[in-house]
């Protein structure tokens, strides 16, 4: 397995390098000027030109690229054009909220989605199965911000049980941290619960119709043993794939939830950076995100061997 992991790590570096070059060129070829954004709405041409010169934005593209590449190879992600602070520091500040939200969302989605999917498959055509169909349609079709606003109105404004917005770091207290994440986690989880539940149901239905399940039933295995030990383990590969994809998607795709609940996460950092043309932040975050994507895929591939002994690398 070690050579396989090594090969995948090398390919991850290649992917990140390609993403880096692509992003570098794309954002610089897109019209827009960070100097103009910094100077303010009605700044004069002379002031903007001075800032552009100071930031080195007048240098030819190949020169800028070599500066950037050389810094990256030395592990320097650069400095934000706007705040003047190191990109890595800004990114680390924003990772905790995004990771907290992603992990809680994933935990809730897996717990509820897998249970829901198993129940629906076990009693296919029954009430739970039909409820899942309705819930899935709801989860897929209602946008996160609609659910978010509804939850805020219900639980934060009407009964004032939970905070409307913001994020409290975990070191300031678990209760405050958790209470700030309840509403965004529920809002963000609904489509993922629907997704995981549908895939679990489909996968379980296929396994439950296998001969060995009938044999297990004939041997007197309990419902729990049949579902968890025999069926779920064999239905696990597609479920694990979906969970892995969901986590990767969550890391980069929580922008809307972070905006609605005013969570200072990575998603908002990137959106603000794109609006302002803060090149070092955009480049670094996208490169790191691509790396995380590749690593999660690798972790999922390796996890297959744990639940399916037939898979070997």
């Amino acid at each position: 397995m070690a050579p396989y992991i090594l090969r995948r790590m090398v390919s991850a570096i290649a992917v990140m390098a390609m993403v880096g070059i692509f992003v570098f060129l794309l954002i610089r070829l897109t019209p827009g000027d960070p100097a103009a954004v910094m100077a303010g709405r009605n700044a004069t041409e002379q002031i903007i030109a001075g800032i552009r010169e100071q930031l080195g934005l007048n240098e030819p593209l190949p020169v800028q690229f070599i500066h950037w590449l050389s810094a990256m190879l030395h592990g320097d992600f650069g400095t934000s054009i706007f705040s003047g602070r190191p990109v890595l520091e800004l990114l680390l500040q924003r990772l905790e909220p995004t990771n907290s939200l992603s992990i809680l969302t994933l935990a809730l989605s897996v717990a509820v989605g897998v249970s829901f999917g198993i129940q629906a498959a076990w009693r296919a055509g029954g009430l739970v199965d039909r409820l899942l169909t309705v819930f899935s349609a709801f989860g897929y079709s209602v946008p996160v911000f609609v659910i978010g606003y509804f939850l805020v109105y219900l639980l934060a404004i009407s009964v004032a049980w939970l905070p409307v917005q913001g994020y409290a770091p975990i070191e300031e207290g678990f209760g405050d941290w958790f209470s700030h994440l309840i509403l965004p986690t529920i809002a963000l989880s609904l489509p993922f619960i629907a997704f995981v539940a549908r895939v679990t149901r489909a996968s379980m239905l296929e396994v439950l119709s296998e001969d060995y399940m009938r044999t297990a039933a004939a041997k007197g295995a309990s419902s729990y043993a049949m579902l968890v030990h025999h069926a779920l383990k064999n239905a696990g590969v597609p479920i694990l794939t979906v969970i892995g994809l969901s986590f990767a998607y969550l890391i980069g795709g929580v922008v809307l939830t972070e905006t609605v609940f005013n969570i200072p996460g990575v998603g908002r950092l990137v959106v603000d950076a794109i609006n302002n043309r803060d090149y070092p932040i955009i480049q670094s975050v996208l490169i790191l995100t691509s790396g995380v994507y590749v690593l999660i895929n690798l972790a999922v591939d390796l996890a297959y061997t744990l639940i399916d002994p037939r898979i070997r690398y």
């Binding site: 103009a36 709405r41 002031i47 001075g50 003047g84 005013n262 908002r268």
Partner: protein
Amino acid sequence: MTITRRTFMESALAAGTVLALASALRAQDKQTIRMIMEDIQVFDPVFSTSSAAINHATAIYDTLFALDANLLPQPQMVGKWDVSDDKKTYKFALRDGLEWHDGTPVTAADCVASIRRWGQVEASGQLLLERAADIAAVDETTFKITLREPHGLVLETLATTGQPLFIMRKQDAKRPATEQVTTNIGSGPYRFNADLTKPGARYVYDRNEQYVPRDEPASGFAGGKVVKVEQLIWENIPDPQTALAALQSGEVDFWMTPVADLFPTIESDPGLVLDTLGQNGSDWLVRMNFLQPPFNNVKMRQALLHLIDQKVFLRLLSPDPKFGRTVSSMFGVGSPYSSDVNTDWFKEGGDLAKAKQLIAESGYAGEKVVILDPTDWPEGNLASQLLANVLQKAGINAELAPMTWSELVVRRAKKEPVAEGGWSLLITYFSDFEIRDPMATSLMLMNGEKAWYGWPQNEEYEALRAKWPDTETQEERKELAREMQRIWWDYVGVVFLCQTLTPTARSKSLVDMIRFPSIERPMWNMRKV
């Protein structure tokens, strides 16, 4: 243990009560004011003209002079000052007790360096530097400005509010104006708390316990800057619905720029209040490219003045009539220099027949008119679309060029014809306070290349503007302003679309906020009850 339905309900209620209690305690903290403000992209108020940078600087830096509620300059950091009989030498002595946030004393050398850096970018500051033979420290706490010729606006310049002269430490102020100062060490009533600040999300300011306010009561940006709370927290909440919910739930106390479609909800909430805080509002305008056809022809510009009906743009940009009005004076609505001179002929606007007549007289031959359309700025986008529609009705070959604001600021600098990537018209706004006199902003210049985008040129107007600093009384300036306005509207320097007022929203428990005509806000004196 079996969980019964009753146990479950009791547990849920208990959990809800605990959470609600925590939320209520947070809201009742009277020593912290939480405000929804714009994101501070740049901290340096010389490097950037954005109102966010100016508000930040107003909190942490101090100024030599400041305008009071009557727009008169009053000493702030300065204790005593005098002027020589020939009116060429001004001497300023700093008041006692001025100290930087790092504990070192404020010196005259800091003031001199700050004036020199700020004077590189601010219009009235540039003029002061041009007229100054020398600006130098006399001793640790005294400095003087020696002029080549008398300059009637020295105190007004030092107290200017659009891009104020904030005093920075000498080592910060020695940087070029195009290099950002990020140390955030001032001598003002608040200290910037970098540890609790999260750029892009939250900015925290602690009360400066060492700050010695003046004895006079607060008035505008002048008087005693008494901070009555321990901490200010500025939140950047980009989503308006979330911002409103945070205000309604008491999680924040103040919202700087609520969006117009939420005004009715805010007004109907008994715990909230909408208040302009004395702001004069924003003057929306069309700027023409004076270098290229067809608006290099004065008759086309005059046709545009006849064509625009401000009441129509008002309905679009300020649906609530309480928060909008028309503008006709080149100095806006709230300036002492505002007048009706030479405005009768176009004031009503919406005169299609007259506009068509002027267009015909101009010899317009269907040249393409490109309107820069900022699609990521909803109001600017709507106003651009309406403008295109109005022009097309008058037979002008108008075309929208959709782009982001960031792209627009690059394109507006192009002087070439539209066929080579240039432009004809763009929409923007200036605060009414910014255009209050002809020295306040580059929009008021008509000196070609040095003027704001569009680059108008009129020697007669510029000759009058050059006299402005030499006037000594407001009456003299008023007379001069009337003469300048006569030329301005004959030439058509801009075409106003309307003025919108942006009220702030706040909890009724936040009181004693200082009222002032500018967009920027004094952050002292206020308290929670």
